[in-house]
């Protein structure tokens, strides 16, 4: 299945934890520093520099591109650092996030409440993932360098549905399935 933001409720209902899907279209990058600013803007009631309603935020800080490249290496960073800001963004209409690693309970609860998904990209596959980014352009907070918000045009960008709108989590399910009991040796 290939999805394109803005994500509608109809599409979100179809996504199930464990599904391997692709994204084609526009997504936005944002990580620690940009999240702090987006959060603070929302708290102050200010207008955000991008319209996040229905959109997907990708937690990435790319390496500089070579001449002729859209973007440098561009894999996901650890998502948990964004967790303090995420529920506020979901309440404001954000529908998807891309990163790696488990989310904390408040984020998982917020995803069920506001009907949003968390998608996992393969960490450490930044060179390969960069091939799915066709264009990149800084659209906000340029002074943050690698942490600026970029508008990415992606094609068949591969992700797994980690958390769906029904509260399921691929990390929990996967671990349960492959866990083995090994008694301690004397």
């Amino acid at each position: 299945m290939d999805i394109s933001p803005p994500l509608t409720e109809e599409v979100l209902e179809k996504l199930k934890a464990g599904d391997q899907i692709t994204i084609t279209g526009v997504i936005y990058t944002a990580r620690d520093a940009a999240h702090k600013r987006l959060f603070e803007a929302l708290e102050k009631g200010e207008k955000l520099p991008i319209d996040i309603r229905g959109q997907i935020l990708y937690y990435v800080g790319p390496t500089p591109p070579k001449p002729g490249q859209a973007i440098g290496s561009a894999g996901p960073t650890t998502s948990v650092r964004m967790d303090v800001y995420t529920p506020r963004l979901l309440a404001a209409g954000l529908k998807g996030t891309i990163g790696k690693g488990a989310r904390r309970p408040p984020v998982r609860e917020a995803m069920v409440k506001y009907k949003a998904v968390y998608l996992g990209a393969i960490g450490g596959a930044g060179a390969l993932l960069s091939k799915h980014v066709k264009r990149a352009e800084v659209v906000a907070y340029e002074e943050l360098g690698t942490e600026a918000i970029r508008r990415l045009e992606v094609e068949k960008f591969p992700v797994i549905v980690v958390n769906d709108i029904y509260g399921k989590d691929v990390y929990e399910e996967g671990k349960k399935k492959y866990r083995q009991e090994t008694p301690l040796k004397a």
Binding site: P62, T63, P64, A74, T77, K100, A127, L128, G145, K177
Partner: protein, 280 residues
């Protein structure tokens, strides 16, 4: 005495920074291939294939394997008969500056950890460890250490009565708690013994060993085997999507310790286990 000029050190560090970030070491690739053969979970197999394909693209295009090109950790073994002509630490810093700028590697260091978290823009300064050894050579190892795995590090001073079981429980819990954050399959560096700061240094040094090469002490090697088995029984798997390969290897380094203590430390290395060395 043998003279080694600081600019030669800088130039070598520049080259090592670039090469470390573009080329995954052969022993890591071999370990990934073996993990792929043994893996049972379909999604996990796909992760391992993707990771190997990523390494192929990075080396072919001389592109960073991962966007997190790390804190530049530099290990030096300085022969006691070496005379360094010039300022060693300035040379290392210049080497990193040039390597990260020329090599289009990401600058990830901030000037100060608290209120002035301003990017230094060239990934300086490196974190440097030096050891004085016999001989007249200088060995330089560059380890670009990503945040995802480094941030999962853990240290504790156990009580001697907790013994081997206490160490195993501590390491397995660290892996369980880390989940997908350190980018499994990981290489686990474990330090046991010494003092609080030395045990973490041992854990860090342990990840420099060739993947899967056992500790020469049979008892420690047996502990490595059991830790690997236990870690890979957690079911976490590659990227924590569920599967067998949570770790490619567990490397344990030990040191004598105080009668009151059993220090233990865990340092995670992600599957993008980059390092490069040179001897001058």
């Amino acid at each position: 005495m043998r003279d080694i000029k600081a600019p030669d050190i800088a130039e070598t560090v520049t080259r090592l920074c670039k090469e470390a970030n573009y080329y995954l070491p052969k022993d890591v690739l071999d370990a990934l291939r073996q993990a792929r053969e043994k893996e049972e979970a379909p999604a996990a197999k796909q992760v391992l294939d993707t990771v190997m394909k990523n390494a192929e693209i990075a080396s072919k295009e001389q592109m960073p394997l991962c966007q997190d090109t790390g804190t530049t950790v530099i290990f030096l073994e300085i022969g006691q008969n070496v005379h360094i002509v010039g300022d060693l630490h300035k040379a290392l810093e210049e080497g990193v500056r040039q390597g990260y700028t020329q090599g289009l590697l990401r600058a990830s260091m901030v000037r100060q950890p608290l209120s002035k978290r301003v990017n230094t823009k060239d990934n300086t300064p490196p974190v440097v460890h030096t050891e004085i050894v016999p001989g007249d050579k200088l060995k330089i190892v560059v380890l670009p250490k990503g945040g995802g795995c480094e941030n999962m590090s853990r240290m504790a001073i156990l009580m001697p009565a907790e013994g081997r079981k206490g160490v195993i429980d501590f390491v397995v819990k660290a892996v369980e708690d880390a989940g997908g954050n350190p980018c499994p399959p990981v290489i686990l560096g474990v330090g046991i013994g010494g003092t609080s700061e030395h045990v973490m240094y041992l854990a860090k040094k342990a990840i420099l060993r060739k993947v899967g090469e056992p500790n020469p002490d049979p008892e420690v090697a047996e502990l490595e085997r059991e830790l690997l088995e236990r870690v890979n029984a957690t079911g976490i798997g590659p990227q924590a999507w569920g599967g067998r390969a949570t770790a490619l290897a567990v490397h344990v380094e030990t040191y004598p310790t105080h009668i009151t203590a059993l220090p233990v430390a865990v340092n995670f290395q992600c599957h993008s286990a980059r390092q490069r060395e040179a001897v001058l």
